[in-house]
């Protein structure tokens, strides 16, 4: 009964053992295989059809990128797991100590609460990495089919889901620490998750400030990573939220502190977090890691835009639910903001769907103001937007020098994937759970 290990290492080992003893963890692992499998198999089939398999028109998928065609759908299983399975694993690990009475014993060690919670967070994140073996197997299978892999974009997708898992862990830890019972924590966690979906929905209908807020929800964050885009403001906000959630959990796990003091500390932390989040929204750097530069203008256009220093403002008369507004955002404005972060974009509409505004004289107009010079067009494509800006700036549109992305068509069936994800993976997980249980018994 003697050991030279530090108290933190003992705690880390204890959390690892508690994780291995948790049924919710094994259920999450078990579900990951089929979840990833169904996404991967259907994605590979669709990709193959678009690439000309089974007599479909070959060449349609010529510009197909595995990022959007395979990795985004395959890794979407991770998003489901992070929203509906990982919270229960986190809550079990945090609430379990309180339910069993172990917390009252462990709190009698002078270790700071944040360090104590850090051990739980580290174990939970490593649990997520183990669960991520399922999509990693999909990557190996894809490679074995002869599929192309562009590592930076694949790493970006995985990093996005890891960040999302971090948010889930922080949320689950904070709710489990604040509430007395795990079921209350589960309800609170799911409420927050559903709340972010509601924000996305309101943003799609209302636009405006809601649209800006919705850009920082986990769904939006994962969506950008799935397109190979890493925005520093999004990463900073996610990191701030993760840190804040873990600190809240640490505050509430100090059972010896009066509730009032813990509440005041939480309110102060909330204010500090809100200020940090607000400051983070002004961070502008971003990186496009997609192989086909789907989040960027052509390099020549970017260089030309960087030479324009006059203030640019755009006023688009399009309703939030108008598909043209979605096109304008995705094809042009999101790329424009990356090159000209100071550009002001304002949407004007009287309704959310825009159908009854079509007869309005100015509906659909997009006004550009560059240093006081104004022009208008109705184009929602990247070319249309660039043309208007170049016209106002008196700049000659540059000649495109970028190599055209030809894509990586692959017309193969997902051979062996069903056996791996529906048979071998679940069997290994069940065997692992059985082995761990027998070792403990």
């Amino acid at each position: 009964m003697r050991s030279r290990r530090s108290a933190f290492v003992w705690l880390l080992d204890k959390e690892r053992r508690e994780l291995a003893a948790s049924k919710s963890w094994w259920v999450m692992l078990l579900a990951m295989g089929p979840l990833v499998g169904v996404s991967f198999i259907s994605a590979v089939r669709t990709y193959a059809e678009a690439s000309g398999l089974n007599g479909t028109s070959a060449g349609v998928g010529e510009a197909f990128s595995p990022l959007v065609g395979v990795w985004a759908p395959t890794f979407s299983a991770c998003e489901l797991a992070a929203a509906f399975l990982l919270p229960f694993v986190g809550i079990r690990l945090v609430s379990g100590d309180r339910q069993s009475g172990a917390l009252k014993l462990e709190l009698q060690h002078p270790m700071p609460a944040f360090v104590r919670l850090g051990a739980k967070a580290m174990v939970l994140l490593s649990a997520w990495i183990v669960a991520s073996l399922a999509p990693l197997i999909a990557v190996v299978l894809w490679r074995s089919y002869g599929g192309a892999i562009y590592l930076p974009e694949l790493a970006t997708v995985a990093a996005g889901h890891l960040l999302n898992a971090g948010l889930t862990v922080a949320l689950a830890a904070s709710t489990a620490a604040i509430t007395e019972h795990p079921s209350t924590a589960a309800i609170l966690t799911l409420t927050v998750t559903v709340g972010t979906w509601i924000v996305n929905f309101i943003a799609a209908v209302q636009g405006g400030v809601w649209e800006r807020v919705a850009g920082y929800t986990p769904t939006a964050m994962v969506g950008e990573f799935q397109h190979g885009l890493v925005r520093l403001d999004v990463v900073s906000i996610a990191a701030a939220l993760i840190a804040s959630g873990l600190v809240v959990a640490a505050i509430w796990l100090r059972l010896g502190m009066p509730v009032r003091r813990r509440a005041y500390e939480s309110i102060a932390l909330g204010a500090l977090t809100a200020a940090t989040l607000f400051a983070c929204t002004f961070i502008t750097p971003s990186w496009d890691f997609s192989e086909n530069r789907m989040n960027s203008f052509a390099r020549a256009d970017e260089e030309a835009l960087e030479q324009i220093h006059a203030p640019l403002s755009i006023e688009a008369h399009l309703a939030p639910e108008d598909p043209r507004r979605v096109d304008l955002e995705r094809r042009a404005l999101s790329k424009l903001r990356r090159v000209m972060p100071q550009a002001q974009v304002r949407y004007v509409s009287a309704t959310s769907i825009g159908i009854f505004e079509q007869t309005s004289q100015h509906y659909g107009e997009i006004w550009y103001d560059l240093g006081g010079k104004r022009t208008m067009n109705r184009a929602t494509t990247a070319e249309g937007v660039l043309e208007a800006i170049y016209d106002l700036a008196g700049v000659k549109p540059p000649v495109e020098t970028d190599e055209i992305f030809r894509g990586h068509p692959l017309a193969v069936a997902p051979k062996g994937a069903a056996a791996v994800f529906y048979g071998i993976w679940p069997a290994l997980v069940v065997a692992g759970a059985f082995f761990v249980r027998r070792r403990r018994a």
């Binding site: 009964m1 003697r2 050991s3 290990r5 108290a7 003992w10 705690l11 080992d13 204890k14 053992r17 508690e18 003893a21 100590d97 069993s100 009475g101 172990a102 009252k104 014993l105 462990e106 709190l107 009698q108 060690h109 002078p110 059972l255 010896g256 502190m257 009066p258 509730v259 003091r261 403990r440 018994a441």
Partner: protein, 238 residues
Amino acid sequence: MLLQATGLTKRYGDFSALTDVSFSIRPGEILGLIGPNGSGKTTLFECLAGVLPADGGTLRHDDRVVPPGARSSILFYMPDAIAPWPSQTVRWALDFTAGFFGGTVPESGPDIVPQLDLVPLLDAPIGTLSKGQRKRVLLAIGLLTPQPVLLADEPFDGLDLRQTRDVARALRSYAAAGRTLFLSIHQISDAARICDRFVLLSAGRVCGEGTPAELSSLAAARGTPPAADLEEVFLALT
């Protein structure tokens, strides 16, 4: 004097669980906290250990006030009716306690595992143990910690007669080795068998503190016959 508690108070809304509780703990003694169910024994232990915030009062050690956050350096509290780390084995729990809290069994000291008859239970998960078995494991955990004072809530609850005697013997041997024990006991006969001094608690207030002889004198002053046993003394003072 090792520790001096003064004016400890704990309220839950309008209900006062502890009112101006004051007493002292002497080094190496076995101090019994006696009181009926609901008298505030567990609340007092939790406030002392700093796992429950008190509304008032201080704990002094060497004439210095020890804030709740620093009490883990002096005392360790073993709660009643808990089943910590239910999926882990007894062997692991004892190892963890010694490793995490920095306590180890002294080379020359008593070996708690055979003394509490835990050898047959070492590989059993804690969650599968009976109440009495779990109680012995909890006591072993408490005794393995390095703090000079151990607060144990109902250490004999759930134990049969033989086990009670074994546990009492183990506790005495630890006290003899220099550990100070503060035991919350609601069975007065059990308390009389092991404790050197007593703190009597009733409705959240201290009704008396001292050795059996001192408490008898206190009770006699209130009209109880001088030769009365601890139960009668307790009834007279509460």
